[in-house]
């Protein structure tokens, strides 16, 4: 407890001693973490959107007209494929009823067809949009399958969009992390360098490396944490008004994007935790390196 009090006091001295640099670090870390947070939220919303669309994606497989086919066995074989999330079997009569229901008042036109022309068919849901193409290939190769119907172009576009969004988010995320890490690293390095003589004296009179290092590590952690809190405040200040705008102008989207306040608050708490961890890691690395080099005997 005594050590903690001394260490916290020394950390406060470090911050006060170089408050301009500290403030600049805090602001830069805040801006970068805000970009990181916004990109992550955007990416999460895109994922939500794509997941929503993907859940609607279905491949319709029509079997050949053959009364000897073991429809249940075929369904089981398809269900075992790695791409398949669920499969639903429709008999010819079920399919016709469904079609009649869809056609509504025009359903009488179907009576002109005479015998029910629709064969046994499956409605297959996939795990993700990227699974559609390989599944279709497998289905087309099956002799029992007569035809496969799916929204090919939509699937391709959704897959491509999903890949681009993920990559862009990853690039932005990495950039923001690297810049924040560099800013914290440099600030602590400057702080250490300006106090190198003091560090040398402290070590010479019997201070442990941990005692010397801890205030610097805490300084970096605190600056990055406060930067992250600033970023979280910026996100909350921007996200909820943006949500209101979307509600007014694009109400359909409100079912797909994240509107739950608890999720956003949790996300912000996570961002603050991430900022503190990033600050701790960077500070620890620079302090360990600096103090090792300073205290190594010749």
């Amino acid at each position: 407890m005594t050590t903690l009090r001394y260490v916290l006091r020394d950390m406060w001295r470090l911050i006060v001693h170089q408050w301009v640099l500290g403030l600049l670090t805090l602001i830069t870390a805040g801006v970068m973490l805000w970009i990181l947070g916004v990109t992550s939220l955007l990416s999460l919303n895109m994922e939500n959107l794509l997941a929503g669309l993907e859940s609607e994606l279905a491949v319709q497989a029509y079997l050949v007209k053959d009364n000897t086919l073991d429809v249940e066995a075929i369904a089981r074989r398809i269900q075992e494929l790695e791409y398949v999330y669920s499969i639903k079997t429709f008999s010819p009569s079920d399919s016709l009823a469904k079609l009649q229901q869809k056609m509504g008042s025009q359903s009488r036109a179907l009576e002109m067809l005479g015998d029910n022309p629709i064969p046994y068919n499956f409605e297959i849901h996939v795990n993700s949009a990227s699974d559609v193409e390989p599944l279709v290939e497998v289905l087309k190769a099956m002799p029992e399958v007569d035809d496969v119907v799916y929204a090919g172009l939509v699937v391709k576009r959704i897959s491509a969009l999903s890949r681009i969004t993920s990559r862009a988010a990853l690039v932005m995320f990495l950039l923001a992390v690297i810049i924040t890490a560099l800013v914290v690293y440099n600030t602590i390095h400057i702080s250490l360098y300006s106090r190198r003589e003091e560090i040398g004296i402290m070590y010479l009179v019997g201070a442990t490396r941990a005692y010397i290092a801890t205030p610097f590590v805490l300084e970096g952690t605190l600056l990055a944490f406060l930067g992250a809190v600033l970023a979280a405040a910026g996100i909350i200040a921007a996200y909820f008004p943006a949500l209101e705008l979307i509600r007014e102008n694009l109400p359909l989207l409100t079912n797909i994007i994240i509107t739950d306040k608890t999720v956003i608050w949790r996300f912000c708490a996570l961002l603050a935790g991430f900022g503190a961890t990033l600050g701790w890691v960077c500070s620890y690395l620079v302090v360990a390196r600096f103090i090792n080099s300073m205290t190594r005997p010749e």
Binding site: T2, Y6, H17, E198, I201, M202, V205, G206, A207, E298
Partner: protein
């Protein structure tokens, strides 16, 4: 704390022999002057004792610690038992006299109340209590040296290393500093002090270790210093 050097050499890169084959034994409670011209190896010898540098050859042991084999984690604990006073004082400019002394104990997690008591004690010992709130830049050279001595005393060390502590001081102030060092030695603390000051060495007739070109050329009890 006794000091034992056996065949100790220190060679700095590329090939500068600062100390050559030093054999030296200093017992607990001794007062030893290390003398010699500039570049003779005095500071190197003291820096070996404080483990700022390691011997290139030989065995240097202090208080039972083999300095070369000592683990890095043990160094701070070893140094807490070695008081150090340097010619350039090595005080922290941003801290007051009081803080400069107190932080040595704070680094050992000594509770604040005990730090306050001990700091007051040692500042009084060097006669600077009225200047406790000043920063080093506001003090004279002699006063700064007394602060450095007070700081070295804070942890009640068993070994006191003084590297030319009177080097920057006038005769009167140097005499005051020496009085403090003798008082420390009288309390049973081993004192090893390097100096150029013939007057000081000749006035007290303690053990004298003389170095020349990194070699120990004289080790004499009650010795004098003649150039």
């Amino acid at each position: 704390m006794n000091i034992n050097f056996s065949g100790v050499s220190k060679i700095f890169p590329p090939d500068i022999a600062a100390l050559v084959d030093i054999n030296l034994n200093i017992e607990q409670g001794e007062f030893v002057y290390v003398i010699g011209q500039t570049g003779s190896g005095k500071s190197t010898l003291l820096r070996l004792i404080t483990r700022e540098i390691l011997p290139s050859r030989g065995v240097a042991s202090v208080g039972g610690y083999d300095l070369k084999r000592m683990r890095n984690a043990d160094v701070p604990y070893y140094r807490r038992d070695v008081g150090l006073v340097a010619q350039d004082f090595k005080l922290i400019p941003s801290l007051t006299v009081y803080e400069n002394i107190a932080f040595v104990m704070e680094a050992m997690s000594v509770p604040k109340r005990l730090v306050a008591e001990r700091t007051k004690d040692v500042i009084n010992q060097v006669g600077l209590w009225r200047r406790r709130s000043m920063r080093p830049a506001q003090l004279s050279g002699g006063e700064q040296q007394r602060v450095a001595i007070a700081r070295a005393l804070a942890n009640s060390p068993s070994l006191f290393i003084a590297d030319e502590p009177t080097g920057n001081l006038d005769f009167h102030t140097a005499t005051e500093v020496m009085k403090i060092l003798f008082a420390i030695n009288a309390a049973g603390v081993t004192v090893v002090m390097s100096t150029h000051n013939q007057g000081i060495v000749n006035a007290s007739r303690q053990r004298v270790v003389e170095l020349d070109g990194g070699r120990l050329i004289r080790d004499e009890k009650g010795g004098t210093y003649t150039s």
